[in-house]
């Protein structure tokens, strides 16, 4: 904690960053994103297991951009989101600083190559509760899975907190907002919800950094993060690529290998 605050303070004092985007203790046991602009405020920064929001989501926000160069307090998923955003031309080298967190240590990273190295040596497996939840679903019969997702997704009221919380959902017009044609029904009815969540997961295929921020953001506790995590895990297994590991990387769904698996095609 002190290490984080110290790094943040130094980054501000040495003008390496104009604002530190980090976590602070919020209300009701919740964590709150904080935008630290003066060294004195750095003491509010904290870091614990409850910090599940992916702060990379703020990089694209115009109001935040106006504050100047940011330094992101970055547990692994935030760091991976930064790299994935970079690979998608959304940020340039030098646009931001990262205060990477691992094992209680804070590492200041400014070059993408440093971030790549850092990510490469940090394990990227899913949290065990998510892994178990996916496996539990995989073990169900298709009918049970259908029922499960029907009952979960039918509850969705389309507040789009999942989309808003996702650093990779930075499109200025989401497909749900395309109305010529209206691909996804606007209302939060069962079909509209089903198509929205399936599409969201597909659009994150090969891009999801498996941070789980979407699921955490859902006010109704719908485990939608399992969808994107599952797709991402499959892509990793089948094609060997993982989002948010390298800036110069081929996106899993816009590249191919001649020998890709096709046992489901006749």
């Amino acid at each position: 904690m002190e290490a984080l605050q110290k790094s943040a303070r130094e980054a501000l004092e040495n003008h390496k960053a104009k604002v530190i985007i980090g976590y602070s203790e919020g209300s009701g046991g919740r964590m709150r994103p904080i935008f630290v602009q003066s060294p004195a405020e750095a003491e509010k920064l904290t870091w614990n297991d409850r910090c599940t929001q992916n702060l990379a989501v703020y990089i694209a926000k115009p109001e935040v951009q106006k504050l100047g160069k940011p330094a992101l307090v970055a547990p692994l998923p935030v760091l991976r989101a930064v790299l994935q955003l970079a690979s998608e031309n959304q940020i340039k080298e030098g646009d931001l600083l990262v205060l990477a967190l691992s094992d209680g240590r804070v590492t200041e990273l400014s070059q993408f190559s440093e971030m790549e190295e850092f990510v490469a040596k940090t394990p990227t497996h899913l949290a065990s509760k998510d892994q178990e939840a996916i496996e539990r679903l995989e073990k169900m019969t298709p009918q049970e899975r259908w029922q499960y997702w029907q009952s979960e997704l039918t509850r969705c009221f389309k507040c789009y907190a999942c989309r808003a919380a996702c650093p990779m959902c930075y499109c200025s017009r989401c497909t749900v907002e395309c109305n010529q044609p209206q691909w996804i029904p606007v209302p939060a009815h069962p079909l509209g919800n089903w198509e929205w969540h399936l599409m969201r997961a597909m659009h994150l295929a090969g891009r999801c950094v498996s941070c789980g921020a979407c699921g955490d953001a859902c006010p109704l506790d719908i485990p939608i993060h399992l969808l994107t995590m599952k797709v991402e895990a499959d892509i990793h297994r089948e094609f060997g690529s993982q989002a948010g590991m390298k800036v110069q990387s081929e996106h899993a769904l816009s590249s191919f290998k001649v020998q890709d698996k096709e046992n489901f095609i006749i």
């Binding site: 009918q143 899975r145 509209g192 399936l198 969808l227």
Partner: protein, 144 residues
Amino acid sequence: MSEFEPKIVAFVCNWCTYAGADLTGTSRIKYAPNVRIVRFPCTGRIDFMLLLKAFSQGADGIIVSGCHPNDCHYTSGNFHARRRWMAFRNLAEFMGIEVERIQFSWVSAAEGAKWADLVNSTVNRVRELGPYDAYRQMAASSWQ
């Protein structure tokens, strides 16, 4: 009551499977009339959203077919499509969609007989599975 006749939508590429289905015609090979072909330039153009739309509109089965690997008119559209299908199929399966109702296939312009077989086998399989009521009910419940 008459036997259930499945509705099948086929999304095919223009250069291989559409031409293959033309050959089926020129060869006068008969197959089940349950299928409706929608023509695309390439399997790479086929949006997974269209598959969802087909189910929501009441399709009982779907065929997606294009050129064999390395035969794509555009060289690699089918390779890209193949990856996309893989991801889509796994996700659909994970969400409980009956993926056995979706048949992915390669049918070349020379495989007129294969096209007929593909349609017949898909129709038969879907006929055994019965109407896709689960999906239809979800769509219908959105209309209450």
